[in-house]
């Protein structure tokens, strides 16, 4: 997936971009279960003892455990055969930390977008709040809503779009169920990403879960193009 970083600050240099992308590469090198040389692959092969885990790995495991409990056991990075894959948490976590890295470098206005999960900070090039579109679930190149965000994260889960067809990438021949898209705005992209994943899998009940969880707002779209939003969502919506 492409990772897009936009930094508005005039003082920004290529070196800052390099550093962010180097960070993402290092995360991938450590956490990708598709790389034979990654730490997580070595852990799964039993080549590394728990006492030798990197601090990042230990922290991701701890945060995954916390998320598992917040979602009552269903967000679990450990499969039945014992294989560990923390990727579901690492995406939002790493975008968040890339943002922290930019802040440390003195960046005050930027966004980071990794596969549709976005962290925004400060203002855009026009000095306005960042405008984030929510992708139309049935029309790939259109959006259904624009929200204005500042120092927040937003993440969307949904069924996969290709051409004019929408389908479940893991069950292409199965009919779609009711919910096709769920977007969550959170205090940062880490919170938005981990909870949108859990809530989307709940189906229709997902939006209630978001409503009940402090600090989160959500926008859910069903297959009949009806959207349901949490009670605090509207304050982010840009009137076009």
């Amino acid at each position: 997936m492409p990772i897009t970083v936009e930094i508005v600050d005039a003082s920004v240099t290529d070196a800052v971009f390099e550093e962010v992308f180097t960070y993402f590469t290092s995360v991938d090198e450590r956490f990708s279960t598709y790389k034979d040389t990654s730490e997580i692959t070595k852990i799964n092969k039993g080549l590394i003892k728990p006492s030798e885990y990197s601090e990042d790995m230990k922290l991701v495991f701890a945060l995954s455990e916390e998320t598992k409990q917040l979602t009552r056991g269903f967000f679990d990075i450990v499969s039945r055969d014992g294989t560990i894959d923390p990727s579901g948490l690492v995406k939002g976590w790493s975008i968040y930390h890339a943002g922290e890295l930019l802040k440390k470098k003195g960046c005050k206005n930027f966004f980071i977008d990794a596969g549709g999960d976005v962290e925004v900070f400060g203002r855009n090039a026009q000095g306005e709040l960042w405008s984030v579109g929510i992708r139309h679930p049935f029309k790939e190149h259109e959006i259904v809503k624009v929200v204005n965000l500042e120092d927040q994260g937003i993440a969307t889960s949904g069924t996969y779009i290709r051409g004019q067809h929408i389908y479940n990438p893991f069950a292409k021949d199965q009919p779609l169920t009711d919910i096709v898209s769920l977007t969550v705005i959170g205090p940062n992209v880490y919170e938005a990403d981990r909870f949108v994943t859990a809530a989307f899998a709940m189906g229709k009940a997902g939006i209630s879960f978001i409503e009940r969880t402090p600090g989160l707002e959500g926008y859910m779209i069903d297959k009949n193009s009806i959207a349901t939003m949490t009670s605090g969502f509207e304050r982010y919506v840009r009137l076009v």
């Binding site: 936009e6 279960t33 916390e66 977008d113 549709g116 992708r135 169920t177 402090p214």
Partner: protein, 308 residues
């Protein structure tokens, strides 16, 4: 300046499986889960003696003789029955210096350096770089736990997180009526008087309604077992009046029965609207990436069977 890195960043691996569900209620008790399940019971031997002023250790500046032991029959630090049935309670200050907020669950264990165990009375969210005050109660009843200001460790946190979280009390804990157990005492549902003797339920072979309403036929449908990447998921959809009224997990990456109430969707203060395509200029777009569909997939196959 905007730059795009086309990378295979963790690609293919974001099929995290997560479902939020409600307790099925079969147990009747929603037992709080502590962050880890090891129980730390303070050993009696490690509990220091109560800090009652001891006559024997007092210096005797005056020539008056030390009173005989028999003169102090009531000063022995034996807790009264009242004290034994009371529970030490108080407040602690929790500080989180980690870069994300942390949620400490209800009953999270707090341990003093000398091994006294306390629990958080409520789930507590500690924001990043923030401090919150939280109510705590002692694990055991009795005045031994009514301690003065001190610091606590949080043994349930992973070792890497422990250095980011500090817990301390600024005021003494006081004895009060135990409150901790009240929250987890099972409340039995009231008996439901049935004016008419109802026939025994016939879960199978109930005849379908002559005129089906809604898009689904009444009944219970079991979906395919689907590999959810972290374990198998199989759901059962229950259709009544042509609508989905419940979805039960038959198989999932945990060991307890759970269900998800579709009716939960109907929340009063949520507003709905028809979506409208826009082509407004925006800075960035939030869209779906590949999401695990194991739950969705199993449910879909169950509903496919229920289709009219």
């Amino acid at each position: 300046m905007k730059k795009i890195l086309f990378a295979f960043f963790l690609i293919g691996t974001f099929v995290a499986y997560a479902v939020f569900v409600q307790q099925s209620g079969t147990n009747g008790v929603n037992t709080p889960v502590v962050m880890d399940r090891r129980q730390t019971v303070p050993s009696v031997a490690t509990i220091p003696p109560p800090t009652q002023p001891s006559v024997a250790t007092n210096p005797a500046p005056s020539p008056s003789p030390v009173p005989p032991v028999t003169a102090l029959p009531t000063s022995a630090p034996v807790p009264t029955n009242d004290q034994l049935s009371l529970q030490a309670q108080g407040q602690v200050l929790i500080t989180n210096t980690y870069s994300v907020s942390l949620t400490l669950r209800k009953t999270t264990r707090l341990l003093t350096a000398d091994g006294k165990l306390y629990h958080l009375a409520q789930a507590t969210v500690v924001p990043s770089g923030g401090q919150v005050t939280a109510d705590v109660y002692a694990d055991q009843n009795g005045s031994l736990y009514a301690i003065g200001p001190t610091t606590f460790s949080v043994p349930g946190l992973s070792s890497s997180l422990q250095s980011y979280v500090t817990v301390s009390s600024n005021t003494s804990f006081v004895l009060a009526q135990p409150v901790a157990l009240a929250a987890i005492v099972p409340t039995l549902p009231p008996p439901t008087p049935s004016p008419v003797q109802s026939p025994p339920p016939t879960p199978v072979a109930s005849p379908p309604p002559a005129q089906p309403v809604g898009m689904y036929k009444n009944g219970t449908y079991v979906g395919n077992s689907v590999d959810a990447y972290y374990g198998n998921v199989q759901v059962e959809a229950i259709i009544q009046g042509g609508k989905i009224v419940d979805v039960q997990f038959l198989d999932h990456p945990q060991d307890r029965g759970r269900s998800i109430s579709i009716n939960d969707y109907a929340m009063p203060n949520l507003t709905s609207e028809a979506i409208q395509a826009q082509s407004a200029q925006v800075d960035v777009v939030s869209g779906a990436t590949a999401t695990s569909g194991a739950f969705v997939q199993s449910l879909a196959s169950a509903l496919a069977q229920a289709k009219n």
